[in-house]
Symmetry: C5
Subunit: 356 residues, 5 copies
């Protein structure tokens, strides 16, 4: 029947040989910044650099090194890190593919996790940013698309030695990063809940206007998109908790289980909101039908009452020579009487039908 | 397309380090009360206190100690209990997070269960209250958001030595508490069933009015909310029954299986009611369409009959000098005859179409 | 938003201590009757009594004893049976709870099965009755809410030694009872199929009237209710067939597998009918829309033709002194010609739009 | 609420003792014919008889014997076969129950398969016929409700020694029979696909008429019925492939796997068509709404334009003595001007609203 | 009720004996071309031929041989390959059946994979082509329906020794082929995403016209068809990754896992788009209802205002001799006043109802 025709150029990059490191995604920023945090229970160093090699001095110590790369255009930085930490070519390919589905891969000596970070930027716009994380025995690498993230509070905890983070290994740092991400999912979702409640209140207050359907559709789209970013995350945390990888300490597992609880809660909340949006949509349709019914009733009542009366008036407006009623003395009053009786009968009829 | 913008401040508490004990939730009450019940087959003590340390004397005995804390603001009480009973920091964090999803965690020497207690308060308002429960070898700790619960009948059974509770251990007390909760789920659900049947009767009796859609929507929302509180509970009981934890006696398992039956029944009933609400919604839509159809038929019949007749009257109301019909002796009567014939033909037509 | 308020008293019974034997359900009958059938391959005794202790003489023989209790108000009979056959308190509690979900429990020396028996009473009304059954090595106990059941043909087979029942043990009797129940499910379901086909025929023959939606809703409700009674039964038969309980002979398993086939067929038929009801509902909505469309077309055609014509007549009914057309000799005929042309153009227009 | 009342007599047969051989189903034909084909790689005999005992001479040979029974009324034939081949009573009961759900049972020395054969008869009517098949080490028994089947091509292959059938055992014959059945499913399904495409084309070409909803409903019903016949078949083939029954040769398993592929394809195609029918239904509803909208626009435009104009004409048709406008020289022309301006303004308004 | 009648001739081919090699499908091209690529890390040969036997010289070397056959009509080529590489008759049957469902079969010394290749041809039309692939220890055979595929970039990589392909075995070639296919799925899907967004924008901009429903239906159909081609592919890759077949090297498994990620992403994207299409459909229906409501309001306002006024004018257009109002000096002005007051009251009423 319909012939499907191509609309767009196929993504050139998609035909590169497997393992090619080629940045896919919007160019968030040209500048790449590297942030290196190195800590143990009694030491702490922080270094902001443009050169990833500054981090390599820290490697042989038994401290934890967190290297955070902001900006994926400068693929040479990523290649250097890949070489230094012996990362698989497919890992590097995935790091720079910002359209990747959230996932976890277990390699022999590191874990590789890709996920989406959702947060409201300073201007209040919801931001979807892909983060990939490599977790080794004594280091954590994170790759972000651009500056700005949800880890500021975590950085502060590390520098101020708040909580138990400084006394733990790289697996706990991984947990802390993921925990910050999930906490932000929750706050994004709660913002959605407020929107949905406002919409529901509007629809019920009959203050819905022409823009209501597009607001509902917008929320549907957005919830589908968020769902798609967050749902695979649940599976990632589940696999982390179950993983027998030696990098993850037995004590950290309790924390991962707690994190899993939260991701379950996040995804159940998403599904709840989704169902609520559909339900509001149904309600909106019902209310439109109800209003249409009311409009029709008004029209029908008025038309049904006056059309016959107008007909009667029309009859006695005819100009036939021979129309005896016209000459009766009380003809006019009789006609009025008939019309008033008809009017009252109509009212009774509509009252019986509960239209009035 | 649409840009999602932040509406609310993110929950500050969500960025605290893991394991922080910080009360989340509505401040139900400022006062914290502690109720301590200590019993064995032949002894019974009850103590109401504000100080949780009063309970610690009971600990070393081989009796069962039930410590019930009402009100979660005074986190120092919770911390003292945590210290005394060696609870994990994440357990304490979950106790004070009243937005937590129902769940069960098995620790080495205690079980930790979080669930929602649903009950009608004295003023008849449905109340959702989070309860967390720690079950150890010889003690049960319960934490409630505020005074008032569904355990009064259970307290009476303990003090009067009714049933088998006084001869059993802490696992049976846990069962008895959960059983009371499930029994209340059932009675809340039955109340819903009544509401749904009333609504259905109203809709069918065509006594639905403008508020019907909002009633339906209200029930939908509420059933979604209840469902969300109760469904995870099913999994909790299932895991309890299957658990190989040494705290749960073999004899208690039969009781847990029975409890599981009841939670299955509760959740199936919820799903039944949910389907019934959707079905009533559909029915309401159909009835509106039916009514609209009837309204349209009335309008169409009246308009279709009288508009042509009015036209005829209009024709002979024209003032042309040369209109021979006007001067015919029986012109007026002929016109009436024509109009009556037309009227009858219309009636026959509508009768054929089954509109009359 | 909406505050949910309590409507009904909570079920008092629900707060009783676990294991309490307290009759829940409609009081079907005040009288309790006990029917005792004792048989082996070459013996047969039948006893109708009001006293359950009459059955205890039969216990030690290697015959099969079937004790059928009709009416659950006289809980003392049930307690005596429980004592005599060493039944668990929870079993007894479930026997008298007629709102129980169908289920199977395996105890050490008996099987306990709860199910719903559906059958048309003599007055043709569909009856839902809960039956609980205890199956021991040499006895079967059945508890019904009231007189009347679907086992008459089975009783006859036992007394006349028809089929293989007299040569088999208590497990085969259990099978025969369940088989009779499933056969009746099937005949209830087939009755539903007839109803649905009648409804479908009515809807298509446009003979649907105002009561059609309530008929559809009634069928939906009833199918939901039947489904809820029958679906757990499937799981019961499945577990019976898989059960490693020593009461069930290897030869009986073939019969249970056959029974399982039938329960699958019953539940698939239910789901088929359910889908058909929804489909008829959709069809009904479509037909209403179609009819409304037709009604609107009739109105539109008549109004669109005559309203302009009436306007023209109205123009020449005005009483201006200076209206030259009125004095033209053929003015009246010209107006008629114009109106007839307009009329024909309208007809052509509607024909083009396929409204005529 | 609504009381469900019995409509039909319960199926008498359903209360017979288990294992009774009593024909259920429409009486397809009174005559029973038996067709016996006996073959090995180098021999072939075919015998048409009315007496099933003619087949028993063939039993002890190491050839393959295929006994096909058409017509199930003569239950004595079935009983004789059952006796000769040592079939379980439940097998015989299922053979004559033509309402049986498709299934497979593995007995110690034979496989028993029940399935539905779908094919177009010579008059083009779709036929559902139940076939049951018993597969032993050296024989295959098939029982059909009436003459006529889909195995003619297979019979020809056997008699002409085409393909590998003559060199294989009874398991390959079973496969060949099932393969013929599945091939016919596919061709029935493809016929459905054509119907659905025709319907879709009609609906889009706006050539849908009053019969469209009943056509859609008819396809829905039929697809539900076909689905119900075919879906259990998938499970049968899967269990055959996985079966460890010694009758099935290792080499035949590849063929069964291939057959499984085809049944998957058949059932996916059914589900695709099902979704397409629903989608066409939705589309039909949308098109009705669109048409109704257009009808309403025509009515609204005409009425909205002429009703005010008619009012103006009505005003100057009044017969008051003192109506100065009537005596103005250009009153009539001014009124016409006013009406024309109003008319044009209305057109502009409708154009703005995109209704014209 | 409705009798289903045959419409089409059953597919003759479907009744052939199993294992028959008979081409099913549209005849893409009459010409069969064979392309033979033979490579190792330091050698490369390419041969275009019409004769498949040219490839057999390469067989015994420890290089990788890729034989690509375009066009399936010349079944003798396929039979020769089957003979040379010892392929099972069912494999050959499946190769030429272009309506086959995507699947994987593991044979003793080769893997057999059937899948659909989706790509936009040079003229921009979406093309569904079946490809079957046989993967042996040192060879890969691919069978396409016609010239043209998505492997050009892969051929270039082999000839130019780009990436790691030249240093790997036949399993990596298999991976590279499947990877190219999945990359094209993604680009086809992205094209769909653009279409859907355009449609959504149109619907919201109220620029939808009569063709919108058929566009939506077209997208629905197409997405169902694509889904059906792609979904089984996911299972194929999963089984490949899990397979213990000795042909697949341990190092290739990482690549297959990466490929699996991409197929998951493809199928999740399809489901997202599917949900979006349904959502747009719903939105379109809502917007139609909204528009209809607006149309009805305009009609109702105009009719409700002018019908009563016209009635009043009609009354004073009657010709009774005795109508005192007509002779009052200010009768005409009083009537105008009454009509204006009525008009204003109506406006106030509609304003209150928020219709204006
Ligand atoms: Mg690629
Ligand atoms: Mg990707
Ligand atoms: Mg960032
Ligand atoms: Mg957290
Ligand atoms: Mg994630
Ligand atoms: Mg927690
Ligand atoms: Mg936190
Ligand atoms: Mg939480
Ligand atoms: Mg409380
Ligand atoms: Mg209970
Ligand atoms: Mg119970
Ligand atoms: Mg719907
Ligand atoms: Mg209780
Ligand atoms: Mg109970
Ligand atoms: Mg129940
Ligand atoms: Mg009874
Ligand atoms: Mg039976
Ligand atoms: Mg059977
Ligand atoms: Mg049977
Ligand atoms: Mg029976
Ligand atoms: Mg059956
Ligand atoms: Mg036949
Ligand atoms: Mg086949
Ligand atoms: Mg095949
Ligand atoms: Mg296939
Ligand atoms: Mg075939
Ligand atoms: Mg095949
Ligand atoms: Mg295909
Ligand atoms: Mg090709
Ligand atoms: Mg790839
Ligand atoms: Mg990848």
């Amino acid at each position: 029947m319909m012939k499907i025709k191509k609309r767009r150029k196929p993504n050139k990059a998609s035909n590169l040989p497997p393992g090619t490191i080629s940045y896919k995604g919007k160019k968030f920023s040209d500048v790449t910044t590297v942030e290196i945090i190195n800590y143990s229970i009694d030491s702490y160093t922080k270094l902001d650099s443009k050169n990833v090699e500054d981090a390599f001095n820290f490697k042989e110590t038994n401290q934890v090194t967190w290297i955070n790369v902001n900006g994926l255009n400068a693929t040479e930085n990523i290649e250097k890190l890949g070489l230094h930490y012996h990362l698989h070519p497919l890992t590097l390919e995935d790091v720079v593919d910002t359209t990747h589905r959230p996932k976890i891969d277990e390699f022999e000596d590191y874990l590789f996790i890709v996920f989406k970070m959702l947060y409201f930027k300073d201007d209040g716009v919801l931001n979807y940013e892909q983060v990939s994380m490599v977790v080794g025995e004594s280091y954590v690498l994170t790759f972000q698309e651009a500056d700005g993230d949800v880890f500021d509070e975590l950085r502060e905890r590390i520098s101020n030695a708040k909580g138990r983070i400084r006394s733990q290994g790289s697996d706990y740092l991984m947990y802390a990063i993921l925990d910050a991400v999930v906490d932000n999912y929750m706050s994004v979702i709660e913002d959605f809940g407020d929107r949905i409640e406002d919409l529901e209140t509007d629809v019920f207050a009959s203050e819905s206007n022409g823009s209501t359907p597009s607001q509902i559709q917008g929320l549907k789209r957005e919830i589908l998109k968020i769902r798609r970013s967050i749902f695979p995350f649940r599976e990632i945390i589940n696999r982390l908790e179950k993983s027998e990888c030696k990098i993850i300490d037995i004590k950290t597992r309790s924390y991962l289980r707690d994190l899993y609880d939260h991701t379950i809660q996040v995804s159940e909340t998403i599904d709840l909101y989704r169902e609520m949006i559909w339900s509001i949509m149904d309600m909106y349709m019902t209310l439109i039908s109800n209003k249409m019914n009311e409009v029709m009733k008004v029209l029908t009542i008025i038309a049904t009452i006056f059309i016959p009366l107008t007909f009667i008036a029309g009859v006695y407006g005819m100009n036939f020579n021979n129309m005896p009623e016209l000459h009766y003395k009380y003809g006019y009053y009789v006609v009025w009487a008939v019309m008033i009786v008809l009017f009252i009968l109509m009212l009774i009829y509509f009252r019986r039908k509960r239209w009035l």
